[in-house]
């Protein structure tokens, strides 16, 4: 018998701190698989966010840096410009990338930095206790919108991927989800594309992942996956945006 599925070398054999059923664990593994498959483990540099994935560098078996909340793309820009031989990616939540870091995100994209962005959209602030994120759905209950988000007053779900796709500096934007194993494989293909674009020098690539946060959605892990499919995708349709 041949081993057909095992832990990638780029993912440390260590337990992670994520809640049961959290999408961060799947995203970490997919990135590690792609790092192995493209043979870039010695030259990849990840930039970890502030959010639940703040210690992502403890789990990946390659070089990483940490950035202040929202500043991952500013840090990544500096690393890539100083060390163009390295493959640099950021890993950011919706609070990190689309709230406090909106400025850094839009300008790095607009400059067409040759970077890869993995954007975890779980429609909530996980690390700080389930507050409303820019991507929280209208009607969704969070710690700061106890009767549900209202568009007027709280703002509507921010479609940052669509906004970024309008910028000429942006090469590739795709939205994927973790709703079932087939979609996890599709997500992997998109993430791989985003890394290959950088390896070929093609510019700014972003993959948005609809990723479950069962804890602050108040659902079982299985119901949370179904919610990404049945509810979240109505607001955030899957597919290649650019």
């Amino acid at each position: 018998m041949k081993k057909i599925f095992t832990r990638p070398e780029a993912l440390k054999d260590a337990p992670n701190h994520y809640c049961p059923g959290c999408g961060h664990g799947i995203a970490h593994r997919l990135i590690a698989e792609i790092v192995d498959e493209t043979g870039i483990r010695e030259r990849v540099i990840g930039v970890a966010p502030v959010g639940c994935a703040v210690v992502a560098y403890d789990y990946w078996n390659f070089d990483c840096s940490e950035a202040a909340h929202g500043r991952a793309l500013a840090v990544a820009t500096a690393i890539k410009r100083l060390r163009p031989q390295n493959i640099v990616f950021t890993y950011q939540g919706d609070g990190d990338l689309a709230a406090i870091g909106t400025n850094e995100t839009i300008h790095a994209a607009n400059r067409g930095e040759n970077l890869t962005v993995i954007f975890i959209n779980n429609a909530i602030y996980g690390m700080t206790g389930g507050q409303m994120a820019p991507t929280t759905l209208v009607g969704q209950k969070t710690a700061t919108t106890p009767s549900g988000r209202e568009g007027k007053g709280h703002g509507y779900p921010l479609k940052i991927s669509e906004i970024l796709s309008l910028l000429p500096g942006v090469c590739y934007v795709e939205r994927v989800s973790f709703q079932d194993p087939q979609h996890v494989l599709k997500a992997k293909a998109a993430i791989k594309q985003a890394f290959l674009n950088q390896i070929k020098g093609q510019g700014f690539s972003l993959v948005e992942i609809l990723s479950p946060c069962p804890t602050y959605w108040g659902m079982s892990p299985k119901d949370a996956l179904d919610w990404t499919r049945d509810v979240m995708q109505k607001e955030f349709p899957l597919g290649k945006i650019k």
Binding site: G21, I26, P181
Partner: protein, 67 residues
């Protein structure tokens, strides 16, 4: 014939694997591991097809698949 091996100590009991196995071979176990999670168990008599759906959805990389 295929086989899956589950890392019982690493399993957090999210049961996503249980929900995606086409042969329904994975079940919530009756025991707890050291972290206090109700880890999953594979039916030893069942015929695994080696599709790896359980391993692909596992957020904790607890499952190895052999075929």
């Amino acid at each position: 014939m295929a086989k899956v091996i589950i890392n019982r100590e690493r399993c957090k009991g999210c049961f996503l694997c249980v929900s995606v196995c086409p042969k329904r071979l994975i079940k919530k176990g009756s025991k707890l591991n050291k972290r206090g999670s109700n880890f999953v168990e594979i039916d030893p008599a069942g015929v695994c097809v080696g599709c790896a759906r359980c391993a692909i959805i596992c957020p904790d990389c607890c499952i190895e698949v052999y075929k």
